[in-house]
């Protein structure tokens, strides 16, 4: 995060700031997020609802609603190309082709009156030359690849279960062999067994095509299963960033520690859950200083005055907290 000199990164998000405006309010959704991702890697974005995870993903594709959202600053570089400086036509080469997105709710992410095969074919035909038959063949191939018999090409979304719809969505997202996959809570709407299947399927296809992925989730279990790198997002900022092992073995930010503490343990008989007290801050009115300070038990006056810089933890990952030592010790 600290040296920007080398440029070998596949995806490089630099100090991204995104705001939403409505009438007289400004929602500070993303406040200076910097991320790096190497080709083929999986980055997990973890955080509570409203932390700005989805907004980050949509900024990469530049599909934020243009009426209300504004990218107020920062830079996103994909394979050395500055995405915010590309024209709309150049952007078309990226959307759906180089970068594609899997949406949260498969129930609504498919057009209910279009045959599922045609929906996959649409992506293919938008980005590839060739005639209709080739596109249909590719769409059929994709269906088979996600485990749906191609005989069901001409069926409609309402004839599919939630898990199968999500497979179709995955097939659409991967139909053009993207280099980067943005998975926005791909398993939230599914039950646990289907969740495992879908994650396996994504992992398998990703390995096959060497696709990098940003996985947005609030499920630590999913992160543990899939990710290489983890970024913990809170109020539009990265609070902690490191490899999966670093974050899981040595969570250093009080927020991350709280998140892990909130997961009920199977081997201990506990009557109560241990949530983090309080609520995420109102993004129209962020607290001064560290955004987590009202809920943090280590908070001092210094935290309330000035937001912390990114620091290095003892094991070498990034953490935005001035009380790392206390937090690591516990009480």
């Amino acid at each position: 995060m600290n040296d920007n000199t080398e440029n070998k990164n596949f995806l490089d998000i630099e100090n991204l700031v995104v705001e939403y405006r409505s009438n007289d309010q400004t929602v500070h959704a993303v406040n200076g997020v910097s991320l790096k991702l190497e080709g083929g890697q999986v980055l997990g974005l973890v955080g509570e609802t409203g932390a700005g995870k989805t907004t980050i993903a949509k900024s990469i594709l530049r599909i934020l609603p243009d009426v209300s959202a504004r990218i107020a600053g920062g830079n996103i570089e994909l394979e050395g190309k500055q995405l915010f400086q590309l024209s709309e036509t150049e952007m078309q080469q990226i959307r759906g082709k180089k970068v594609s997105m899997i949406f949260q709710d498969p129930m609504t992410a498919l057009n209910p009156v279009q045959r599922i095969g045609e929906q996959i074919e649409e992506v293919v035909s938008l980005h590839n030359r060739g005639n209709h038959e080739d596109h249909v063949k590719r769409a059929e191939e994709m269906l088979e690849m996600v485990g749906i018999p191609k005989e069901r090409y001409r069926e409609y979304p309402h004839q599919f279960s939630g898990g199968m719809k999500q497979r179709v969505v995955i097939a659409m997202a991967l139909a053009c062999n993207p280099d980067l996959l943005l998975a926005d809570e791909p398993t939230t709407a599914l039950d646990v067994t289907i969740q495992a299947q879908v994650l396996d399927l994504i992992a398998e296809l990703r390995k096959k095509y060497h696709t990098a992925m940003i996985l947005i989730t609030h499920d630590m279990g999913v992160v543990a299963q899939t990710c290489d790198m983890v970024a913990v997002i809170y109020a539009g900022q990265i609070l902690e960033y490191g490899t999966k092992e670093q974050i899981f073995d040595h969570p250093s930010h009080p927020y991350t520690i709280g998140l892990f503490g909130a997961i009920p343990k199977l081997n201990v008989d506990e009557e109560w859950l241990h949530p983090i007290n309080g609520l995420p801050p109102d993004p129209t009115n962020l607290p001064q200083g560290c955004p987590f300070n009202p809920r943090c038990r280590f908070a001092t006056d210094e935290c309330r005055k000035k937001a912390a810089e990114m620091m290095k933890t003892p094991d070498g990952h990034d953490c935005r907290c001035i009380h790392i030592a206390e937090a690591l010790k516990g009480e």
Partner: protein
């Protein structure tokens, strides 16, 4: 991982087939559909099946009541009313269907663009439609027909303008609801163009209320067309448009009521049939509205 293979008996499980199945269960709607279909077929075939020419006069039998020779009787010039009603169906039905088709298509395009883009575009378009809608329907048709002059094509234009605002507003409301769905966002993320999103994704998901409205619209178009002819602005005599026939016959309503009854009945039956069909379609398209 393996998905059990499922052979589908209903290969065509599309929304349209579901609606058709639903519609077939509704007897009244089917009656409406059959009546309207018969009317259209008869109107198309009328030049070949009518017993007399529509404008053939026979001064020896003037204003005769219904008989076996003249099923619906004759008018003041001895023309066969049965032949005239059948032949006139061509004009009345064409005007109704065509005017509805034009107003629905154009109205839907306006509504879709306006609903999708919102903001200024929406505001400008809706204010224009406000102006159209601020005039009562009938008055607007009269004004347009008066400006453009009477005649078949001008009447269709007058009727079409009339139907625009309702069609546009209806689709606009649906589109505004539909565009918030995630699949529209998904379509943007795979790089669909705006026109493609509107035509391929938004309209097919939002136009069912417009179908119902159009079906009912044909009925009201036919009656407005008849009213225009009645006051002498629509299609002119001797063309046997139903409204024009009514208009011409009204001075004889006391001596020979059959001259008014049969064209009037033709209009009433058509309007009724279309309303029945429209009701049935509405139920079939939107199960929530039932009961």
């Amino acid at each position: 991982m393996a998905v059990p293979e499922i052979r589908n008996k209903h290969r065509n499980n599309s929304e349209m087939h579901r609606v058709m199945r639903q519609l077939k269960k509704n007897k009244l709607a089917m009656i409406g559909l059959v009546i309207f279909a018969i009317e259209i077929i008869v109107a198309i075939l009328s030049p070949y099946i009518i017993p007399y020419k529509y404008n053939a006069m026979d001064m020896t039998s003037v204003q005769k009541g219904p008989s076996l020779v003249h099923l619906f009787g004759t008018d003041e010039l001895g023309r066969d009313i049965f032949s005239r009603v059948l032949y006139g169906g061509q004009y009345s039905l064409t005007m109704g269907v065509l005017a509805t088709f034009i107003s629905t298509t154009v109205g839907m395009l306006i509504g879709a663009v306006s609903g999708y883009f919102g903001g200024k575009v929406d505001n400008i378009m809706m204010r224009i439609l406000d102006v159209i809608q601020s005039l009562p329907n009938m008055l607007l048709s009269i004004v347009i027909s008066a400006v453009l002059g009477s005649g078949f094509v001008n009447t269709i234009i007058a009727l079409s303008v009339n139907g625009l605002p309702a069609a546009a507003r209806m689709l606009r409301a649906q589109i505004m609801k539909e565009r918030e769905n995630e699949y529209i966002e998904a379509a943007v993320s795979i790089n669909c163009s705006r026109s493609r999103i509107i035509l391929n994704h938004l309209i097919p998901n939002s136009f069912s209320p417009n179908i119902v409205q159009a079906t009912m619209g044909v009925a009201s178009m036919i009656s407005i067309a008849a009213s225009l002819s009645f006051i002498g602005l629509g299609v002119q005599p001797p063309i046997p448009e139903w409204g024009a026939m009514l208009s011409a016959a009204r001075q004889f309503i006391r001596q020979s009521p059959h001259m008014v009854i049969f064209p009037g009945l033709a209009i009433a039956v058509t309007v009724l049939a279309l309303n029945l069909l429209g009701d049935g379609l509405r139920d079939a398209l939107d199960p929530k509205l039932k009961n």
